[in-house]
């Protein structure tokens, strides 16, 4: 079952999108594989089995998922449905027990650990529910660390970190430690960090779960800008129904099956 055809909560919006995307495909007269290339994320028949004691547990059951480039895809579902496991697999952090995953036209399920690291480094930005910022580093330094990991150092790193934090509206909080920032500000630092290297894919795990309503809205707007202005594909695992308004597609996962 492909999630790309799951209906979006806002049908008017969905209609507009279909009207926009369909002619493009038609005019291009793309073949199957060319169309495949236009997908940012393609998962086929993905299964994941965890072994707990002697009993194997099938957490994901034959997942198929297509996410076009430049769109916001929500992945929703109850707790324990396998959302985070699927996100980890789609991000190349976990290897599925069966099936294949293509990101940006490259099959990551065939990559070595090192190749996967390099792929993530160059193509994926991460946003986490718990922010995962280094508590001893300032906002600026947290972004600089991501730049350092990507090989950008010195004044260039500082300048780029400055620029990224300005983009998320934290010009006046750059030298604050995470403990001195609000939840929304922390998440914006995490978003700035995720933008390091201008990745084509953003993977977000419950980005608004730890935020109040106001901060949550700000982050939602930021994520929409990321996708629309930056042409990035954003995959969001969430329980937050407010995000449905900004999503292009929504997939529901229940008991390891996409519906």
């Amino acid at each position: 079952m492909t999630a790309s055809h799951i209906n979006i909560a806002n049908p008017v919006r969905a209609l507009k999108r279909s009207a926009f995307t369909l002619p493009e495909r038609t005019l291009s007269n793309l073949g199957v594989w060319e169309r495949f290339d236009r997908k940012a994320i393609v998962a086929r028949d993905v299964e994941m089995v965890f072994r707990s004691g002697t009993e194997p547990s099938l957490v994901l059951k034959g997942i198929d998922l297509d996410i076009p480039q430049g769109e916001i895809q929500l992945l929703m579902g109850p707790s324990g449905s396998g959302k985070t496991t699927l996100l980890s697999i789609l991000a190349g952090i976990l290897t599925p027990t069966a099936g294949s995953v293509c990101l940006l036209g490259q099959e990551i399920t065939r990559m070595s650990k090192q190749q996967l690291s390099n792929f993530r480094l160059n193509n994926i930005g991460f946003i986490f529910q718990g922010f995962n910022l280094f508590p001893a580093l300032t906002a600026l330094e947290n972004v600089e660390v991501a730049l350092k990991v990507k090989g950008v150092r010195g004044t260039v790193a500082r300048r780029d970190a400055h620029e990224l934090l300005s983009q998320v509206g934290l010009e006046d909080r750059m030298n604050y430690l995470p403990r001195d920032l609000s939840g929304g500000q922390k998440q914006r630092v995490a978003i700035a960090r995720a933008l390091v290297g201008n990745p084509k894919l953003i993977m977000a795990d419950e980005p608004t779960a730890s935020l109040d309503s106001h901060s949550g809205h700000a982050v939602i707007e930021l994520l929409r800008d990321l996708a629309k202005k930056g042409g990035r594909t954003v995959l969001i695992v969430t329980h937050d129904s407010r995000l449905i308004d900004v999503a292009d597609r929504v997939a529901y996962l229940e008991d390891g099956i996409l519906t």
Partner: protein, 414 residues
């Protein structure tokens, strides 16, 4: 560029201080143990190193500097006849008993040499001069021995049982930590002090006071007003401990050594370096001293490793999600290892510097008050820095192990 390692380290100051205290303790323990071992070894051979003798002639049975059998004085005269010898002087080593004014006895080692000679006694004098040793029944000793001998100053008098002996000078850096209190006297005085040693004494305790009689004196009681006769000159019948030899300029020492050994029956000839090595080896390997001090240093390293391991492991555990995030972002394991290793290096350096300062201060205090040298040479200091770095980086392996096996999926757990 932000240093995660440094910032993580200083994030929790109280924990950092506790960690550094543990490292300081470990480094200080290692430094002090090694410093005492080196100071001890050095002190056992200071008299050899301070001498200008190229060769030392001893009995064949010599064990180390302070334990040897006597050789006849005749060997001194024979040595002077050997081709290639510039100068030869006798050295006597005798045991004795010091009796202080309070009636306490102290074992002493009396070294007799020629105060007008050139081959022995080339140490620094803090008070008095060697020429004063020409007077009868005089001696000098290391400044650090004043307390042990219950003496206050130069010109104080005590007894090298049963003879009265007058302190005429104080030397510096001449006391071996391994031996009895060393006293330095002329050959004649040392022969008298040693010849009247406790083995030939008839000592009794009367009213809490030790009273001894020897062949040289009729009585040691304060009421005896008759001064002992001046010590006699050494005769050929007397024995000495060593003949110190200075070779003529450009003389091949190994050739001279062979000539001396063939000319002097029942003796062995050692170069200065060999004498040092024999004495060092004896104290370090044939006694438990080297083992015990080495064990202390090893314990210090182990304690340091345990402390650093715990701190680093705990720090990594606290930040496991951040490290997982780095890995999820695509950072190689080496980036994460680099952070942990840098943290370990900071801990090593910040633990080492104050420890070394502490040990240098402690060493200055012990040498000034106890005469115990905690020897910290530049080489030792560098070696201990190396040990500290290895200790801290080695301790990081446990933390690295933890990070290596961290599941990157941990980053998605709230």
């Amino acid at each position: 560029m932000a240093s995660i390692a440094r910032k993580n380290l200083f994030e929790d100051i109280p924990r950092f201080i506790v960690a550094q205290a543990g490292i300081m303790f470990a480094v200080s323990l290692v430094t002090i143990q090694l410093g005492i071992l080196d100071g001890f070894s050095r002190s056992t051979t200071r008299l050899i190193e301070q001498s200008d003798a190229d060769l030392w002639v001893s009995s064949q049975e010599m064990l180390h500097l302070e334990v040897t059998l006597p050789i006849p004085l005749e060997r001194l005269l024979q040595t002077r006849q050997v081709n290639g010898v510039e100068r030869a002087e006798a050295l006597i080593s005798r045991s004795g008993v010091w009796l202080d004014s309070a009636g306490h006895i102290v074992p002493v080692k009396v070294w007799g040499f020629n105060p007008g000679g050139r081959l022995f006694g080339n140490w620094r004098m803090s008070q008095g001069s060697l020429s004063s040793l020409q007077e009868p029944y005089t001696f000098i000793t290391d400044r650090s021995n004043l307390g042990a001998l219950d003496l206050k100053q130069v010109s104080d008098v005590g007894k090298i049982v049963p003879l009265q002996a007058k302190l005429v000078g104080l030397s510096e850096d001449t006391q071996s930590m391994a031996s009895s209190t060393s006293l330095f006297a002329s050959l004649e005085n040392a022969n008298a002090f040693g010849g009247s040693g406790s083995g030939n004494l008839n000592c009794t305790i009367q009213a809490g006071q030790v009273e001894c009689l020897s062949p040289l004196t009729r009585s040691t009681s304060p009421s005896s007003s008759e001064p002992p006769p001046p010590p006699r000159n050494l005769s050929l019948e007397d024995s000495i401990s060593y003949v110190l030899v200075q070779a003529k300029p450009d003389q091949d020492l190994s050739e001279l050594k062979k000539r001396l050994e063939s000319a002097l029956p029942n003796t062995r000839v050692h170069t200065k370096a060999e004498m040092v090595e024999i004495t060092h080896t004896y104290w370090r390997k044939r006694t438990g001293v080297g083992f015990i001090l080495g064990l202390g240093a090893t314990v210090g390293v182990i304690v340091g490793m345990v402390v650093v391991s715990q701190i680093l492991y705990s720090s990594v555990s606290d930040h496991i999600k951040e490290f997982g995030t780095l890995k999820a972002m695509g950072a190689s394991d080496w980036v994460v290892y680099g952070v942990i290793t840098e943290q370990a290096l900071w801990m090593a350096v910040l633990g080492y510097v104050p420890s070394m300062a502490l040990c240098l201060g402690l060493g200055a205090w012990t040498v000034a008050t106890k005469g115990i040298v905690i020897l910290i040479t530049p080489g030792t200091a560098i070696a201990i820095l190396g040990v500290t770095v290895i200790m801290c980086v080695g301790s990081a392996l446990f933390a690295i192990q933890k990070v290596t096996h961290v599941d990157p999926a941990i980053v998605f757990k709230a």
